[in-house]
Point group: C2
């Protein structure tokens, strides 16, 4: 089955499509454009599938992604990390005839530098103002004194179009259960609507109102006043999301294929050729799923082997053991040279170690899709 | 200073050379070949510098590294991860006239598969037997019943040369202080010598005896019976090693340059465009250095800013705050658009996010060296 050199990143096309369709339908039902965040997938092929029923707008997390997706034919891209002033010229260089890289600011100095540089270069930009709706990472709170000042600083150049407001409700990752996540979603929606109204009251049209996170996209109830959504992780999901209740284990579309390279029977464990680089050292899934370790072990058909985990990693080694350490590991199921699949804790970080997806459907290897990494 | 797009991985050439020379002298003083592990650096340029005074043999952690270093002119490479039987043919394909990819086994099934495949392919292999000298990751303990059986299984083919024994004293990373690390080094040496003697008693010449870890290489006292050492992290060092006492903060040769993209004064923090992917989520340095967070913040000259850390990360954002959270952050030193450098927790993982080193000396950007990643 799939004669792949291990470790390898495998993408289950059926699960991917199911995840994409569910989110697309959700956006359509709420009368929203789906502007998927490609920070997880970083693949033109997946970007095309994800936007099939929508405007074709996407979200990215790096300018290298922006360049790659522009090469792939995408024309309306939101770069959803606060703009470093030194990147303004790079954004200008990426844009072209009807190709836009929308940028994000949350402070007056950056807004002013953008406006000034737009005039110096003679280049038009589209800017979002980032709103902090409770995550307290980046962004201005909806009631922040500086909110209108940022819009006015952008407006110092006629070349800068204040597109609207954008948030990422990262605190949905810390919510427990559907109701708590729905409450975060409402907080995100309400914060954005309040901020947009303040900008409109100050004379800015603010046509775009953009919330975005996978948990709030799944559990949000009302989207009144929003124009789009920007989830990203939902394409693949992962153990963190499964623990949060945003997906089931069976919805996780990516896994790492590894080979058993040794048995350590005295210690009731074995080891595989997928370690910290192949899986990432993100252990956050353990916050939502006790005993997730560095990933759940599945057989090659993708069925979890009950209670078996990657319990530790070094650079190129993964330790496989029972979650509680006490139950005997079924060594007979894992002879030397046999293969297994590992469901990732955090697919965004795991996928970032690979330059391609091996796309599978059941027992068939059906395609190979490249992905971009780095900056 | 260095007009680099951020985040960028910067390598201080003076510190690199100082680290390389210190280890080279240590190996020479102990009459050992230095077979550096290139799993951290993954750079031909660095490999050449590291082996300048030695045999030219190196160690790698993936077969992609092996292929890359063979392209770079290296001819004697030890692949120091237990061999997955499916990789035997890849190793055979990489080898050529006087080009060797030495492999590692620690169990009879893998040894037997290697011997059988060597005869089927008509290809010669050089094999090490992995010894567990206390880390309990991979390897056979020096007194393991199977030790001679593995050598005999390899010996089932005349084409397989049993080169010797190899260990990685990973438990030195869990030792506290120079004396404890020296004790681990002695345990490693003694275990290898015992295993080698058992093999010799059984009729195997076992010419190579190979210990390897940065802490034991730094603090080991006797190397009697060993023929080489295989440290790797020492080229760059990192906060984990500094916390362990293996290096000083000033010896850390790599850092990540990031740009300040926002201030969050209400929360006494700011954020930069280097997050989980740019720094890695390895938090292990906090085990040896309280409050290391995800990296120490330095000014652009490389001087640590007292008490200032990356305290949290998301995919492309790093939170910068004071280590204790209470002391006020000196925002005036970090205006929007300004740059800073971050010393990594674990340089092996941080470097793996980048495809090149920007090589600097003082204020000068002097070179750009590619590196390899993936499998």
């Amino acid at each position: 089955m799939w004669a792949l050199a291990t470790p390898a990143l495998v993408l289950d096309r059926k699960k991917l499509k199911r995840n994409l369709e569910a989110m697309s339908e959700r956006a359509t039902r709420h009368d929203l454009d789906l502007r998927p965040h490609l920070k997880t997938a970083k693949s033109v092929e997946i970007g095309r599938l994800a936007t099939a029923e929508h405007s074709g707008g996407i979200t990215v997390s790096t300018l290298r992604e922006a360049a790659y997706f522009i090469d792939g034919g995408f024309r309306d891209i939101t770069y959803a990390v606060g703009l470093a002033p030194d990147k303004i010229d790079t954004v200008a260089g990426l844009q072209g005839d009807d190709v836009w890289v929308n940028v994000l600011v949350d402070n007056v100095p950056a807004a002013r530098m953008l406006a000034k540089r737009a005039d110096t270069l003679g280049v038009a930009f589209r800017a979002f103002i980032e709103i902090d709706t409770g995550d307290h990472r980046a962004g201005l709170t909806p009631d922040a004194e500086d909110l209108v000042a940022v819009a006015q600083a952008l407006d110092e150049s006629e070349r800068v179009d204040v597109r609207g407001v954008l948030s990422h409700a990262g605190h949905s990752y810390r919510a427990q259960g559907a109701d708590a996540i729905a409450a975060v979603a409402e907080e995100e929606r309400h914060g954005l609507v309040v901020a947009a109204q303040r900008l409109r009251d100050a004379g800015f049209a603010c046509p775009a109102v953009s919330p975005g996170s996978t948990p709030t996209a799944v559990y949000g109830k009302s989207w009144a006043g929003c124009t789009e959504m920007r989830p990203g992780n939902y394409m693949f999901f992962d153990l963190f999301q499964a623990g949060l209740g945003t997906c089931g284990i069976d919805d996780i579309a990516v896994s790492v294929v590894a080979t058993v390279i040794g048995h350590k029977r005295d210690y009731n464990r074995l080891y595989v050729d997928a370690g910290a680089l192949a899986l990432s050292k993100d252990a956050s899934a353990n916050d939502t799923m006790a005993g997730a370790g560095y990933g759940l072990v599945c057989d090659m058909a993708g069925q979890p082997v009950a209670g078996v985990r990657v319990t530790n990693v070094s650079q190129e080694h993964g330790w496989v053991a029972t979650a509680n350490g006490g139950d005997p590991l079924p060594f007979e199921r894992f002879p030397i040279g046999s293969r297994l699949r590992i469901l990732p804790n955090h697919s965004c970080l795991t996928a970032a170690a690979y330059d391609r997806y091996y796309v599978v459907e059941g027992h068939a290897l059906v395609d190979e899709w490249p992905r971009i990494n780095g900056w």
